[in-house]
Symmetry: C2
Subunit: 212 residues, 2 copies
DNA sequence: TAGTGTGAAGTTGTTCACAGCA
DNA sequence: TGCTGTGAACAACTTCACACTA
């Protein structure tokens, strides 16, 4: 069985978002050309990517929007609900629980944890902030497979160790550091790197293309 | 003059971070091997990337850490201060101003803007939240070249138009939408896409490598 | 010896060109 | 005709192999 290349995988998320949007607007079908235009990609690229959903649909008239959505969800592992634990109730943690979009995409935050004694016991978006010591229990109780690290750099590795030991199978890391997880997949989101990227592009300006 | 490929550009940020860290720890020299290990990359890769800083330093003993930092900064356009305007004082906006790391990297938030009447006039991290109408003036006054979009999807394109019209030269977009800027470079950060990426990797688990 | 610099080879991802279907 | 599916050509990026230097 062939592996979906990472660049494609990233784009599949974008296709899914776009298809859902169009479904909400009442669309019944979507073509690779439409998707490409909406996302700034070549239509060929879109078709190649969508092929990971197993050749289907399309004939001379585009993809059936609902089927496409379902296939995308299923191929990306989004047809189940993912229970998620969040470590760090600081600025980023708060932004995340307030983000809203997660719920609708099938992610459920089942535990929020923080080191700080002054935060533990307080509530955040309806969930009580717990001490890190409770993390393994909550992970097990809810079979949480994903952990989010939203703590400062200094504690990020330590938190990663706790998460891995507790049994999470994937980590979303907002700390500006590479973390070592012994094989558990990590996706990094780093605000500074992103801003620096913008500065870089501005400096180089003119020459290169746009967004992914 | 050859263009720095985007993948390299992303990694340059990471090298810079790592070098700064090591400098703080008192290191005088850094080798490609050390950098590679710290970041999960092959040493060859590191050397190829660093070559964009112009062949220099290294001999049989690694790169001079200070020189490397300076070259990285300069090549990435970080030897100047970048004035930045932030649109959106919601959860993400607040997380960003509270992030702290920006200042030290040479980014200065010179204006925070929001549509909401109830937020305008309030202060956030020492800066008064202004109405969007003031944006062009502030951008001009401070020669702000970078804009950050931290508003909901629905208003993101509108905000982008305002920013572009005001003259910013690069945009960091946190809204879950592709925005059209007519050539102004955009870097996207999308929490949902990132989380979905994790779900995807977990689903595929085992097979693929780690982080960038 | 421990490390850089770099062409050449290899791999991966993207675009092109076109066959085929409704 | 409008669109999908896909091999083949192409471009981009990464890894390898090795010459070279302090």
């Amino acid at each position: 069985m062939p592996q979906i290349p990472r660049p494609s995988a990233r784009r599949l998320s974008l296709y899914l978002r776009e298809v859902q949007l169009r479904l909400r607007d009442g669309a019944k079908r979507v073509s690779s050309k439409q998707l490409g235009e909406a996302l700034g990609l070549a239509d060929t690229q879109v078709r190649k990517d969508l092929h990971w959903c197993g050749p289907f649909g399309g004939s001379g008239v585009g993809y059936d929007a609902e089927t496409l959505r379902d296939r995308l969800r299923s191929v990306m592992g989004l047809s189940r609900t993912w229970n998620v634990v969040l470590v760090g109730a600081g600025n980023i943690g708060r932004a995340l629980v307030g983000y809203g979009r997660f719920e609708s995409e099938g992610f459920r935050i089942v535990g929020i944890f923080d080191k700080s004694k002054s935060l533990v016991g307080r509530r955040l978006a309806g969930t009580t902030i717990r001490a890190l010591a409770d993390l393994p229990r909550i992970v097990e109780e809810h079979d949480a497979r994903i952990g989010i690290i939203a703590v400062p750099r200094e504690s990020s590795q330590e938190v990663a160790d706790i998460l891995v030991k507790a049994g999470v199978r994937g980590i979303l890391n907002f700390a500006p550091a590479r973390i070592d997880t012994g094989g558990v997949p990590v996706t990094n989101v780093d605000f500074s790197v992103a801003l620096e990227q913008v500065a870089f592009e501005v400096t180089m300006s003119g020459a290169r293309g746009e967004q992914p």
